[in-house]
Amino acid sequence: MIIVKNLKRYYGTGKTAVRALKGVSFEIKKGEFVAIMGASGSGKTTLLRILALLDDATDGEYTIRGLEVSSLPEAERSYYRLTQVGYVFQDYALINEMSAAENVYILSMMEGKSRKESYATALEALDKVGLKDKHNRIPDELSGGEKQRVAIARAIAKKPDILFADEPCANLDTTNSKQVLDVFKELNEKYGQTIVMVTHELWHTEYVDRVITLEDGNLVSDEIKRNREE
Protein backbone atom coordinates (compact mmCIF):
# COMPACT_ATOMS: atom_id res chain seq x y z
CA MET A 1 0.00 0.00 0.00
CA ILE A 2 2.75 2.45 1.02
CA ILE A 3 6.26 2.34 -0.34
CA VAL A 4 8.90 4.72 1.01
CA LYS A 5 12.39 4.79 -0.51
CA ASN A 6 15.34 6.68 0.91
CA LEU A 7 13.15 9.41 2.37
CA LYS A 8 15.02 12.48 3.65
CA ARG A 9 13.86 15.62 5.38
CA TYR A 10 16.19 18.48 6.27
CA TYR A 11 15.03 21.56 8.09
CA GLY A 12 16.92 24.63 6.93
CA THR A 13 19.92 24.59 4.58
CA GLY A 14 23.70 24.57 4.75
CA LYS A 15 25.74 23.87 7.88
CA THR A 16 22.93 24.66 10.34
CA ALA A 17 20.44 22.31 8.63
CA VAL A 18 18.72 19.81 10.95
CA ARG A 19 18.74 16.40 9.32
CA ALA A 20 15.54 15.00 10.84
CA LEU A 21 15.26 12.07 8.41
CA LYS A 22 18.45 10.76 6.88
CA GLY A 23 17.01 8.33 4.34
CA VAL A 24 14.47 5.78 5.52
CA SER A 25 12.94 3.02 3.42
CA PHE A 26 10.08 0.64 4.24
CA GLU A 27 6.84 -0.75 2.96
CA ILE A 28 3.46 -1.01 4.66
CA LYS A 29 0.88 -3.51 3.51
CA LYS A 30 -2.86 -3.12 3.47
CA GLY A 31 -4.45 -3.99 6.79
CA GLU A 32 -1.32 -3.62 8.88
CA PHE A 33 -1.29 -1.90 12.27
CA VAL A 34 2.19 -0.40 12.57
CA ALA A 35 3.78 1.46 15.46
CA ILE A 36 6.63 3.89 14.90
CA MET A 37 8.80 4.08 18.01
CA GLY A 38 11.85 6.07 18.93
CA ALA A 39 13.24 8.58 21.38
CA SER A 40 12.09 12.14 21.36
CA GLY A 41 13.67 13.99 18.42
CA SER A 42 14.31 10.82 16.46
CA GLY A 43 12.14 12.02 13.54
CA LYS A 44 8.85 10.19 14.14
CA THR A 45 6.59 13.21 13.72
CA THR A 46 8.56 14.42 10.74
CA LEU A 47 8.09 11.05 9.04
CA LEU A 48 4.39 10.83 9.83
CA ARG A 49 3.63 14.33 8.51
CA ILE A 50 5.29 13.49 5.23
CA LEU A 51 3.37 10.21 5.00
CA ALA A 52 0.09 12.09 5.68
CA LEU A 53 0.92 14.69 3.00
CA LEU A 54 1.09 17.49 5.53
CA ASP A 55 4.74 18.12 4.70
CA ASP A 56 7.17 17.54 1.84
CA ALA A 57 10.24 15.33 1.85
CA THR A 58 13.52 16.95 0.91
CA ASP A 59 14.43 13.89 -1.12
CA GLY A 60 13.29 10.33 -1.76
CA GLU A 61 10.28 8.52 -3.16
CA TYR A 62 6.86 8.06 -1.67
CA THR A 63 4.04 6.15 -3.35
CA ILE A 64 0.57 5.28 -2.15
CA ARG A 65 -0.98 2.42 -4.08
CA GLY A 66 1.53 2.92 -6.86
CA LEU A 67 0.87 6.67 -7.16
CA GLU A 68 3.86 8.94 -6.64
CA VAL A 69 2.29 11.46 -4.28
CA SER A 70 5.20 13.62 -3.14
CA SER A 71 5.17 15.59 -6.37
CA LEU A 72 1.41 16.22 -6.55
CA PRO A 73 0.23 19.85 -6.70
CA GLU A 74 -1.31 21.22 -3.51
CA ALA A 75 -4.92 21.08 -4.73
CA GLU A 76 -4.63 17.35 -5.44
CA ARG A 77 -2.79 16.70 -2.20
CA SER A 78 -5.58 18.51 -0.41
CA TYR A 79 -8.13 16.28 -2.10
CA TYR A 80 -6.04 13.25 -1.20
CA ARG A 81 -5.92 14.33 2.43
CA LEU A 82 -9.66 14.76 2.38
CA THR A 83 -10.55 11.43 0.80
CA GLN A 84 -7.71 8.92 1.29
CA VAL A 85 -5.76 9.88 4.40
CA GLY A 86 -6.86 10.12 8.00
CA TYR A 87 -4.73 11.94 10.55
CA VAL A 88 -5.12 11.97 14.31
CA PHE A 89 -3.24 14.74 16.10
CA GLN A 90 -1.64 14.48 19.51
CA ASP A 91 -3.75 17.39 20.81
CA TYR A 92 -7.00 16.28 19.10
CA ALA A 93 -7.18 19.42 16.90
CA LEU A 94 -10.96 19.61 16.94
CA ILE A 95 -12.82 22.76 15.95
CA ASN A 96 -14.02 24.11 19.28
CA GLU A 97 -17.14 25.76 17.93
CA MET A 98 -18.40 22.60 16.30
CA SER A 99 -20.21 19.73 17.96
CA ALA A 100 -18.75 16.23 17.76
CA ALA A 101 -21.03 15.41 14.86
CA GLU A 102 -20.25 18.64 13.02
CA ASN A 103 -16.51 18.07 13.40
CA VAL A 104 -16.95 14.82 11.51
CA TYR A 105 -19.80 15.87 9.25
CA ILE A 106 -17.94 18.82 7.69
CA LEU A 107 -15.56 16.50 5.87
CA SER A 108 -18.33 14.48 4.23
CA MET A 109 -19.91 17.73 3.21
CA MET A 110 -16.64 18.85 1.70
CA GLU A 111 -16.64 15.63 -0.32
CA GLY A 112 -19.95 16.74 -1.80
CA LYS A 113 -22.26 14.43 0.09
CA SER A 114 -25.77 15.59 0.91
CA ARG A 115 -26.70 16.83 4.35
CA LYS A 116 -28.50 13.65 5.26
CA GLU A 117 -25.81 11.38 3.94
CA SER A 118 -23.12 13.40 5.73
CA TYR A 119 -24.97 13.17 9.00
CA ALA A 120 -25.44 9.44 8.66
CA THR A 121 -21.73 9.03 7.89
CA ALA A 122 -20.80 11.11 10.93
CA LEU A 123 -23.05 9.13 13.25
CA GLU A 124 -21.74 5.87 11.90
CA ALA A 125 -18.16 6.96 12.57
CA LEU A 126 -19.02 8.21 16.05
CA ASP A 127 -20.71 4.89 16.70
CA LYS A 128 -17.49 3.07 15.80
CA VAL A 129 -15.62 5.00 18.51
CA GLY A 130 -18.47 4.54 21.01
CA LEU A 131 -19.63 8.17 21.12
CA LYS A 132 -22.87 8.10 19.16
CA ASP A 133 -24.87 9.32 22.15
CA LYS A 134 -22.58 12.33 22.65
CA HIS A 135 -22.70 13.59 19.07
CA ASN A 136 -24.24 16.90 20.10
CA ARG A 137 -21.53 17.86 22.58
CA ILE A 138 -18.88 20.42 21.78
CA PRO A 139 -15.22 19.57 22.56
CA ASP A 140 -15.31 21.55 25.83
CA GLU A 141 -17.99 19.21 27.10
CA LEU A 142 -15.94 16.07 26.42
CA SER A 143 -13.07 14.41 28.30
CA GLY A 144 -9.62 14.18 26.70
CA GLY A 145 -10.17 10.56 25.71
CA GLU A 146 -13.56 11.37 24.25
CA LYS A 147 -12.09 14.26 22.28
CA GLN A 148 -9.45 11.97 20.86
CA ARG A 149 -12.12 9.46 19.91
CA VAL A 150 -14.06 12.21 18.10
CA ALA A 151 -10.83 13.07 16.28
CA ILE A 152 -10.49 9.41 15.32
CA ALA A 153 -14.11 9.37 14.11
CA ARG A 154 -13.34 12.42 11.97
CA ALA A 155 -10.30 10.64 10.53
CA ILE A 156 -12.08 7.37 9.72
CA ALA A 157 -15.49 8.66 8.56
CA LYS A 158 -14.19 8.91 5.01
CA LYS A 159 -12.95 5.28 5.22
CA PRO A 160 -9.38 6.30 4.40
CA ASP A 161 -6.77 4.02 2.86
CA ILE A 162 -4.51 4.68 5.80
CA LEU A 163 -5.03 6.18 9.23
CA PHE A 164 -2.10 8.05 10.77
CA ALA A 165 -1.90 8.95 14.45
CA ASP A 166 0.88 10.96 16.09
CA GLU A 167 1.15 10.02 19.76
CA PRO A 168 -2.62 9.94 20.11
CA CYS A 169 -2.40 8.99 23.78
CA ALA A 170 0.30 11.42 24.89
CA ASN A 171 -2.19 13.64 26.72
CA LEU A 172 -4.31 10.82 28.14
CA ASP A 173 -4.23 8.77 31.33
CA THR A 174 -3.94 4.99 31.14
CA THR A 175 -7.69 4.30 31.18
CA ASN A 176 -8.38 6.74 28.36
CA SER A 177 -5.31 5.56 26.48
CA LYS A 178 -6.58 2.01 26.62
CA GLN A 179 -9.98 3.06 25.28
CA VAL A 180 -8.36 4.85 22.36
CA LEU A 181 -6.04 1.93 21.61
CA ASP A 182 -8.98 -0.45 21.79
CA VAL A 183 -10.76 1.66 19.21
CA PHE A 184 -7.73 1.44 16.93
CA LYS A 185 -7.48 -2.28 17.42
CA GLU A 186 -11.15 -2.81 16.66
CA LEU A 187 -10.94 -0.64 13.55
CA ASN A 188 -7.97 -2.66 12.43
CA GLU A 189 -9.41 -6.08 13.17
CA LYS A 190 -13.04 -5.53 12.31
CA TYR A 191 -12.74 -3.24 9.31
CA GLY A 192 -9.20 -4.03 8.15
CA GLN A 193 -8.15 -0.42 8.62
CA THR A 194 -4.46 0.19 7.87
CA ILE A 195 -3.01 2.19 10.77
CA VAL A 196 0.36 3.85 11.33
CA MET A 197 0.73 5.13 14.89
CA VAL A 198 3.63 7.00 16.45
CA THR A 199 4.20 6.28 20.13
CA HIS A 200 6.98 6.10 22.68
CA GLU A 201 5.17 3.94 25.23
CA LEU A 202 6.38 0.36 25.10
CA TRP A 203 3.10 -1.11 26.33
CA HIS A 204 1.28 0.36 23.31
CA THR A 205 3.12 -2.11 21.12
CA GLU A 206 0.97 -4.87 22.63
CA TYR A 207 -1.78 -3.68 20.34
CA VAL A 208 0.14 -3.60 17.07
CA ASP A 209 1.37 -6.05 14.42
CA ARG A 210 4.68 -4.46 13.68
CA VAL A 211 7.10 -1.99 15.22
CA ILE A 212 9.39 0.31 13.23
CA THR A 213 12.03 2.03 15.34
CA LEU A 214 13.76 5.28 14.43
CA GLU A 215 16.94 6.58 15.93
CA ASP A 216 18.39 9.93 15.03
CA GLY A 217 16.65 10.04 11.66
CA ASN A 218 17.51 6.48 10.69
CA LEU A 219 15.40 3.33 10.66
CA VAL A 220 17.16 0.99 13.10
CA SER A 221 14.75 -1.90 13.47
CA ASP A 222 11.62 -3.27 11.86
CA GLU A 223 10.05 -6.04 13.89
CA ILE A 224 6.95 -8.12 13.12
CA LYS A 225 5.12 -8.81 16.41
CA ARG A 226 2.30 -10.84 14.97
CA ASN A 227 1.58 -12.25 11.58
CA ARG A 228 -1.91 -11.31 10.46
CA GLU A 229 -2.15 -14.35 8.25
CA GLU A 230 -2.05 -16.64 11.27
Binding site: Y79, A93, I106, L107, E111
Partner: protein, 402 residues
Amino acid sequence: MIDDIRVGSLIAYCSVKRGNKKTLMFIVFVLSLIFMNLVFLPSMIGGMMVLFTGMMQDYPYGDIVIEPMDDNTYINNADSVLQKVRAVEGVRAATKRLDAGASIEHKQKVVGASITGLLPTEELEISQYPYIISEGDFLGELSRDEIIIGAMIAGTGFGSEIYDNLGEVRPGSLVDVTYSNGVKRTYKVKGIMEGSFELVDLNALVNYKEIEDVYGLEGSKATSVVVRVDKQGTEGQIKDKIREAGVNEQIFTWADKSETLIKQAMQSMGAIDTMSKFVSLIVGAALVLIIIYINVLNRKKEIGILKAVGITPRSIVLSYAFLSTFYVSLGILSGLILYFSLMFYFQANPVVFYETMEISPQIDPVLLIESIVTMLTLSVIAGILPAWSVSKESILKAIWGR
Protein backbone atom coordinates in the same frame (compact mmCIF):
# COMPACT_ATOMS: atom_id res chain seq x y z
CA MET B 1 -17.66 25.52 -5.58
CA ILE B 2 -21.10 24.61 -4.21
CA ASP B 3 -19.39 22.37 -1.66
CA ASP B 4 -17.06 25.24 -0.77
CA ILE B 5 -20.07 27.46 -0.13
CA ARG B 6 -21.84 24.82 1.95
CA VAL B 7 -18.75 24.12 4.04
CA GLY B 8 -17.89 27.82 4.32
CA SER B 9 -21.34 28.64 5.60
CA LEU B 10 -21.25 25.74 8.07
CA ILE B 11 -17.97 27.03 9.52
CA ALA B 12 -19.33 30.58 9.71
CA TYR B 13 -22.61 29.39 11.21
CA CYS B 14 -20.89 27.37 13.94
CA SER B 15 -18.52 30.15 14.82
CA VAL B 16 -21.41 32.60 15.23
CA LYS B 17 -23.61 30.12 17.08
CA ARG B 18 -20.99 29.01 19.58
CA GLY B 19 -18.58 31.94 19.46
CA ASN B 20 -18.24 34.55 22.16
CA LYS B 21 -21.44 36.61 22.24
CA LYS B 22 -19.86 39.56 24.02
CA THR B 23 -17.21 39.87 21.34
CA LEU B 24 -19.91 39.66 18.70
CA MET B 25 -21.90 42.42 20.39
CA PHE B 26 -18.86 44.62 20.69
CA ILE B 27 -17.93 44.17 17.03
CA VAL B 28 -21.51 44.90 15.97
CA PHE B 29 -21.60 47.99 18.19
CA VAL B 30 -18.40 49.40 16.69
CA LEU B 31 -19.64 48.67 13.18
CA SER B 32 -22.95 50.40 13.89
CA LEU B 33 -21.05 53.51 14.97
CA ILE B 34 -19.01 53.40 11.77
CA PHE B 35 -22.25 53.23 9.81
CA MET B 36 -23.79 56.10 11.77
CA ASN B 37 -20.73 58.16 11.05
CA LEU B 38 -21.32 57.62 7.34
CA VAL B 39 -24.92 58.75 7.31
CA PHE B 40 -25.50 61.18 10.16
CA LEU B 41 -23.65 64.33 9.13
CA PRO B 42 -24.92 64.19 5.53
CA SER B 43 -28.47 64.00 6.90
CA MET B 44 -27.90 67.14 8.95
CA ILE B 45 -26.44 68.90 5.93
CA GLY B 46 -29.44 67.72 3.94
CA GLY B 47 -31.64 69.35 6.55
CA MET B 48 -29.74 72.58 6.12
CA MET B 49 -30.23 72.39 2.34
CA VAL B 50 -33.99 72.04 2.81
CA LEU B 51 -34.02 75.01 5.14
CA PHE B 52 -32.12 77.22 2.71
CA THR B 53 -34.14 76.18 -0.32
CA GLY B 54 -37.26 76.93 1.71
CA MET B 55 -35.89 80.44 2.28
CA MET B 56 -35.29 80.80 -1.44
CA GLN B 57 -38.91 79.94 -2.13
CA ASP B 58 -40.32 82.16 0.56
CA TYR B 59 -38.38 85.27 -0.38
CA PRO B 60 -36.54 85.97 -3.63
CA TYR B 61 -37.67 83.24 -6.03
CA GLY B 62 -41.04 81.75 -5.19
CA ASP B 63 -41.76 78.36 -6.75
CA ILE B 64 -40.95 79.61 -10.23
CA VAL B 65 -39.12 82.80 -11.15
CA ILE B 66 -39.07 84.48 -14.54
CA GLU B 67 -36.07 86.67 -15.30
CA PRO B 68 -35.09 88.85 -18.25
CA MET B 69 -33.67 87.23 -21.36
CA ASP B 70 -29.91 87.41 -21.93
CA ASP B 71 -28.37 90.81 -21.19
CA ASN B 72 -31.61 92.69 -20.71
CA THR B 73 -31.98 94.45 -17.39
CA TYR B 74 -35.74 94.23 -17.41
CA ILE B 75 -38.61 92.08 -18.53
CA ASN B 76 -40.29 94.48 -20.92
CA ASN B 77 -43.99 93.87 -20.61
CA ALA B 78 -44.34 92.25 -17.22
CA ASP B 79 -48.11 92.73 -17.19
CA SER B 80 -48.52 90.65 -20.32
CA VAL B 81 -46.23 88.00 -18.82
CA LEU B 82 -48.33 88.06 -15.66
CA GLN B 83 -51.50 87.69 -17.68
CA LYS B 84 -50.15 84.63 -19.47
CA VAL B 85 -48.77 83.12 -16.27
CA ARG B 86 -51.96 83.60 -14.27
CA ALA B 87 -53.91 81.85 -17.01
CA VAL B 88 -51.81 78.70 -16.62
CA GLU B 89 -53.59 75.98 -14.68
CA GLY B 90 -51.97 75.18 -11.34
CA VAL B 91 -50.58 78.68 -10.79
CA ARG B 92 -51.82 80.09 -7.51
CA ALA B 93 -50.45 83.61 -7.68
CA ALA B 94 -47.86 85.72 -9.45
CA THR B 95 -46.38 89.17 -9.06
CA LYS B 96 -43.71 91.41 -10.53
CA ARG B 97 -40.75 92.96 -8.73
CA LEU B 98 -38.10 95.56 -9.46
CA ASP B 99 -34.73 95.21 -7.74
CA ALA B 100 -32.33 98.13 -7.45
CA GLY B 101 -29.04 98.88 -5.77
CA ALA B 102 -28.89 101.76 -3.32
CA SER B 103 -27.23 103.20 -0.27
CA ILE B 104 -29.27 104.02 2.81
CA GLU B 105 -28.26 106.80 5.18
CA HIS B 106 -29.40 107.56 8.71
CA LYS B 107 -27.69 110.03 11.06
CA GLN B 108 -24.36 109.96 9.16
CA LYS B 109 -24.31 106.17 8.94
CA VAL B 110 -24.41 104.75 5.43
CA VAL B 111 -25.10 101.18 4.39
CA GLY B 112 -25.23 99.62 0.93
CA ALA B 113 -28.28 97.47 0.30
CA SER B 114 -30.44 96.03 -2.39
CA ILE B 115 -33.94 97.45 -2.47
CA THR B 116 -36.82 95.46 -3.85
CA GLY B 117 -39.80 97.27 -5.26
CA LEU B 118 -42.93 95.18 -4.84
CA LEU B 119 -46.70 95.36 -4.92
CA PRO B 120 -47.60 95.06 -1.23
CA THR B 121 -51.05 93.50 -1.54
CA GLU B 122 -49.94 90.96 -4.14
CA GLU B 123 -47.04 89.91 -1.91
CA LEU B 124 -49.53 88.65 0.68
CA GLU B 125 -50.08 85.67 -1.62
CA ILE B 126 -46.50 85.32 -2.80
CA SER B 127 -43.89 85.68 -0.09
CA GLN B 128 -43.31 85.72 3.62
CA TYR B 129 -42.22 89.39 3.60
CA PRO B 130 -45.56 90.66 4.95
CA TYR B 131 -45.44 88.18 7.82
CA ILE B 132 -42.01 88.80 9.26
CA ILE B 133 -42.42 92.41 10.34
CA SER B 134 -40.98 92.44 13.84
CA GLU B 135 -41.69 96.11 14.53
CA GLY B 136 -44.16 98.47 12.83
CA ASP B 137 -46.24 97.40 9.83
CA PHE B 138 -45.86 96.11 6.28
CA LEU B 139 -46.25 98.48 3.31
CA GLY B 140 -49.78 99.39 2.21
CA GLU B 141 -51.14 99.44 -1.31
CA LEU B 142 -50.53 103.16 -1.67
CA SER B 143 -47.38 103.58 0.43
CA ARG B 144 -45.01 105.76 -1.56
CA ASP B 145 -42.78 107.55 0.92
CA GLU B 146 -42.39 104.54 3.17
CA ILE B 147 -39.75 101.78 3.43
CA ILE B 148 -39.33 98.43 5.17
CA ILE B 149 -35.79 97.83 6.42
CA GLY B 150 -34.14 94.47 7.20
CA ALA B 151 -33.26 93.97 10.82
CA MET B 152 -29.56 93.44 10.19
CA ILE B 153 -29.13 96.85 8.50
CA ALA B 154 -31.51 98.52 10.92
CA GLY B 155 -29.09 97.52 13.64
CA THR B 156 -31.68 95.87 15.84
CA GLY B 157 -31.77 92.30 14.62
CA PHE B 158 -29.69 89.23 15.13
CA GLY B 159 -26.44 89.50 13.20
CA SER B 160 -26.27 93.29 13.38
CA GLU B 161 -22.90 93.01 15.09
CA ILE B 162 -21.42 91.37 12.02
CA TYR B 163 -22.64 93.75 9.35
CA ASP B 164 -22.53 97.52 8.85
CA ASN B 165 -25.78 98.95 10.11
CA LEU B 166 -27.64 102.18 10.61
CA GLY B 167 -27.42 102.18 14.37
CA GLU B 168 -30.84 102.27 15.91
CA VAL B 169 -33.47 102.64 13.21
CA ARG B 170 -37.06 102.29 14.43
CA PRO B 171 -40.46 102.59 12.79
CA GLY B 172 -40.94 106.32 12.24
CA SER B 173 -37.24 107.08 11.70
CA LEU B 174 -36.36 108.92 8.50
CA VAL B 175 -33.75 107.48 6.10
CA ASP B 176 -32.19 108.92 2.94
CA VAL B 177 -31.85 106.53 0.03
CA THR B 178 -29.52 107.19 -2.88
CA TYR B 179 -30.30 104.92 -5.84
CA SER B 180 -27.68 103.64 -8.25
CA ASN B 181 -28.69 106.26 -10.82
CA GLY B 182 -28.01 109.07 -8.32
CA VAL B 183 -31.64 109.85 -7.49
CA LYS B 184 -32.14 110.63 -3.83
CA ARG B 185 -35.35 110.01 -1.84
CA THR B 186 -36.26 110.32 1.80
CA TYR B 187 -38.46 107.64 3.34
CA LYS B 188 -40.14 107.10 6.64
CA VAL B 189 -39.42 103.64 8.07
CA LYS B 190 -42.75 101.81 8.20
CA GLY B 191 -41.51 98.55 9.60
CA ILE B 192 -38.51 96.32 10.36
CA MET B 193 -38.47 92.85 8.86
CA GLU B 194 -36.64 90.00 10.51
CA GLY B 195 -36.20 86.62 8.83
CA SER B 196 -32.96 85.77 10.66
CA PHE B 197 -31.41 85.28 7.27
CA GLU B 198 -28.97 87.54 5.43
CA LEU B 199 -30.83 87.22 2.16
CA VAL B 200 -33.77 89.00 3.80
CA ASP B 201 -32.41 91.01 6.66
CA LEU B 202 -29.79 92.84 4.61
CA ASN B 203 -32.47 94.11 2.19
CA ALA B 204 -35.06 96.84 2.10
CA LEU B 205 -38.51 96.96 0.50
CA VAL B 206 -40.38 99.85 -1.13
CA ASN B 207 -43.42 100.10 -3.37
CA TYR B 208 -42.96 98.89 -6.95
CA LYS B 209 -44.13 102.28 -8.19
CA GLU B 210 -41.28 104.02 -6.35
CA ILE B 211 -38.61 102.15 -8.30
CA GLU B 212 -40.55 102.65 -11.53
CA ASP B 213 -40.63 106.35 -10.79
CA VAL B 214 -37.00 106.69 -9.65
CA TYR B 215 -35.65 104.98 -12.75
CA GLY B 216 -38.23 106.52 -15.07
CA LEU B 217 -39.50 103.15 -16.27
CA GLU B 218 -42.61 102.77 -18.39
CA GLY B 219 -44.71 99.91 -19.68
CA SER B 220 -44.60 97.62 -16.65
CA LYS B 221 -40.92 96.68 -16.47
CA ALA B 222 -39.72 94.06 -13.96
CA THR B 223 -36.45 92.45 -12.90
CA SER B 224 -38.38 89.34 -12.00
CA VAL B 225 -41.81 87.80 -12.06
CA VAL B 226 -42.35 85.51 -9.09
CA VAL B 227 -44.84 82.65 -9.32
CA ARG B 228 -46.35 80.35 -6.69
CA VAL B 229 -48.04 77.09 -7.61
CA ASP B 230 -51.00 75.27 -6.08
CA LYS B 231 -49.17 72.03 -5.48
CA GLN B 232 -45.53 71.57 -4.54
CA GLY B 233 -43.82 69.23 -6.95
CA THR B 234 -45.63 70.50 -10.05
CA GLU B 235 -43.12 73.32 -10.65
CA GLY B 236 -41.43 71.47 -13.50
CA GLN B 237 -44.64 70.89 -15.48
CA ILE B 238 -45.90 74.39 -14.84
CA LYS B 239 -42.62 75.85 -15.98
CA ASP B 240 -43.12 74.06 -19.32
CA LYS B 241 -46.71 75.26 -19.55
CA ILE B 242 -45.62 78.84 -18.95
CA ARG B 243 -43.16 78.53 -21.79
CA GLU B 244 -45.87 77.04 -24.00
CA ALA B 245 -48.09 79.99 -23.10
CA GLY B 246 -45.59 82.14 -24.95
CA VAL B 247 -43.38 83.63 -22.25
CA ASN B 248 -40.02 84.27 -23.91
CA GLU B 249 -37.97 85.06 -20.84
CA GLN B 250 -35.75 82.83 -18.69
CA ILE B 251 -37.82 80.57 -16.47
CA PHE B 252 -36.41 78.80 -13.44
CA THR B 253 -37.96 76.55 -10.83
CA TRP B 254 -36.71 77.02 -7.28
CA ALA B 255 -34.85 73.74 -7.72
CA ASP B 256 -33.01 75.12 -10.78
CA LYS B 257 -32.11 78.17 -8.75
CA SER B 258 -31.00 76.23 -5.72
CA GLU B 259 -28.88 74.04 -7.91
CA THR B 260 -26.85 76.98 -9.14
CA LEU B 261 -27.09 79.22 -6.12
CA ILE B 262 -27.33 77.07 -3.04
CA LYS B 263 -24.95 74.49 -4.33
CA GLN B 264 -22.42 77.25 -4.86
CA ALA B 265 -22.99 78.56 -1.40
CA MET B 266 -22.89 75.08 -0.01
CA GLN B 267 -19.83 74.03 -1.90
CA SER B 268 -17.58 74.32 1.10
CA MET B 269 -20.15 72.43 3.13
CA GLY B 270 -20.23 69.79 0.41
CA ALA B 271 -16.46 69.52 0.46
CA ILE B 272 -16.49 68.99 4.21
CA ASP B 273 -19.20 66.42 3.74
CA THR B 274 -17.24 64.53 1.09
CA MET B 275 -14.09 64.65 3.17
CA SER B 276 -15.81 63.45 6.29
CA LYS B 277 -17.42 60.63 4.30
CA PHE B 278 -14.04 59.68 2.88
CA VAL B 279 -12.39 59.71 6.29
CA SER B 280 -15.22 57.68 7.83
CA LEU B 281 -14.91 55.18 5.04
CA ILE B 282 -11.17 54.78 5.55
CA VAL B 283 -11.52 54.55 9.31
CA GLY B 284 -14.41 52.15 8.83
CA ALA B 285 -12.50 49.98 6.40
CA ALA B 286 -9.49 49.90 8.71
CA LEU B 287 -11.63 48.94 11.69
CA VAL B 288 -13.46 46.18 9.85
CA LEU B 289 -10.12 44.93 8.58
CA ILE B 290 -8.56 44.99 12.05
CA ILE B 291 -11.50 43.26 13.67
CA ILE B 292 -11.57 40.48 11.09
CA TYR B 293 -7.78 40.23 11.05
CA ILE B 294 -7.55 39.73 14.80
CA ASN B 295 -10.30 37.20 14.52
CA VAL B 296 -8.38 35.36 11.80
CA LEU B 297 -5.10 35.48 13.73
CA ASN B 298 -6.84 34.01 16.78
CA ARG B 299 -7.97 31.14 14.66
CA LYS B 300 -4.82 30.54 12.69
CA LYS B 301 -4.42 27.12 14.19
CA GLU B 302 -8.00 26.24 13.39
CA ILE B 303 -7.44 27.28 9.79
CA GLY B 304 -4.38 25.01 9.69
CA ILE B 305 -6.37 22.11 11.10
CA LEU B 306 -9.19 22.62 8.62
CA LYS B 307 -6.66 22.60 5.81
CA ALA B 308 -4.88 19.56 7.27
CA VAL B 309 -8.05 17.49 7.28
CA GLY B 310 -8.77 18.45 3.69
CA ILE B 311 -11.05 21.49 3.82
CA THR B 312 -10.26 23.62 0.76
CA PRO B 313 -8.70 27.04 1.34
CA ARG B 314 -11.54 28.48 -0.70
CA SER B 315 -14.13 27.24 1.80
CA ILE B 316 -12.12 28.76 4.62
CA VAL B 317 -11.83 32.11 2.88
CA LEU B 318 -15.54 32.02 2.06
CA SER B 319 -16.40 31.29 5.69
CA TYR B 320 -14.64 34.50 6.71
CA ALA B 321 -16.36 36.44 3.96
CA PHE B 322 -19.70 35.15 5.26
CA LEU B 323 -18.69 35.87 8.82
CA SER B 324 -17.69 39.47 8.17
CA THR B 325 -20.74 40.04 5.99
CA PHE B 326 -22.82 38.80 8.88
CA TYR B 327 -21.05 41.09 11.37
CA VAL B 328 -21.41 44.06 9.08
CA SER B 329 -25.07 43.31 8.30
CA LEU B 330 -25.83 43.26 12.01
CA GLY B 331 -23.76 46.42 12.40
CA ILE B 332 -25.72 48.13 9.63
CA LEU B 333 -28.99 46.95 11.12
CA SER B 334 -28.27 48.29 14.57
CA GLY B 335 -26.71 51.37 12.94
CA LEU B 336 -30.00 51.94 11.13
CA ILE B 337 -31.97 51.59 14.34
CA LEU B 338 -29.66 54.06 16.03
CA TYR B 339 -29.83 56.37 13.02
CA PHE B 340 -33.61 56.40 12.79
CA SER B 341 -34.02 56.97 16.51
CA LEU B 342 -31.66 59.95 16.26
CA MET B 343 -33.46 61.19 13.15
CA PHE B 344 -36.82 61.03 14.88
CA TYR B 345 -35.39 62.73 17.91
CA PHE B 346 -33.95 65.60 15.89
CA GLN B 347 -37.05 65.90 13.76
CA ALA B 348 -39.11 66.29 16.91
CA ASN B 349 -36.47 68.56 18.49
CA PRO B 350 -34.72 70.36 15.63
CA VAL B 351 -31.35 71.97 16.08
CA VAL B 352 -31.93 75.72 16.32
CA PHE B 353 -29.70 78.18 14.47
CA TYR B 354 -29.87 81.98 14.64
CA GLU B 355 -32.51 81.63 17.35
CA THR B 356 -35.31 80.94 14.89
CA MET B 357 -33.96 78.72 12.14
CA GLU B 358 -34.73 75.11 12.82
CA ILE B 359 -32.77 72.38 11.11
CA SER B 360 -34.38 68.97 11.07
CA PRO B 361 -32.23 66.29 9.46
CA GLN B 362 -33.30 64.83 6.13
CA ILE B 363 -33.37 61.09 5.52
CA ASP B 364 -31.89 60.45 2.11
CA PRO B 365 -32.63 56.90 0.89
CA VAL B 366 -29.99 57.09 -1.84
CA LEU B 367 -27.34 57.97 0.71
CA LEU B 368 -28.49 55.15 2.98
CA ILE B 369 -28.35 52.58 0.18
CA GLU B 370 -24.97 53.92 -0.94
CA SER B 371 -23.57 53.59 2.56
CA ILE B 372 -25.00 50.11 3.05
CA VAL B 373 -23.53 48.90 -0.23
CA THR B 374 -20.17 50.48 0.58
CA MET B 375 -20.05 48.88 4.03
CA LEU B 376 -21.00 45.47 2.67
CA THR B 377 -18.41 45.64 -0.10
CA LEU B 378 -15.80 46.67 2.41
CA SER B 379 -16.75 43.84 4.73
CA VAL B 380 -16.33 41.22 2.03
CA ILE B 381 -12.90 42.57 1.13
CA ALA B 382 -11.92 42.99 4.76
CA GLY B 383 -13.08 39.46 5.49
CA ILE B 384 -11.39 37.83 2.54
CA LEU B 385 -7.97 39.53 2.62
CA PRO B 386 -6.67 38.31 6.01
CA ALA B 387 -8.23 34.85 5.68
CA TRP B 388 -6.77 34.49 2.24
CA SER B 389 -3.28 35.41 3.41
CA VAL B 390 -3.45 32.97 6.34
CA SER B 391 -4.94 30.18 4.26
CA LYS B 392 -1.97 30.53 1.90
CA GLU B 393 0.43 29.71 4.72
CA SER B 394 1.75 26.17 5.00
CA ILE B 395 -0.22 23.83 7.23
CA LEU B 396 2.74 23.19 9.51
CA LYS B 397 3.24 26.88 10.07
CA ALA B 398 -0.43 27.55 10.72
CA ILE B 399 -0.83 24.72 13.22
CA TRP B 400 2.53 24.43 14.91
CA GLY B 401 3.97 27.85 14.27
CA ARG B 402 6.98 26.61 12.29
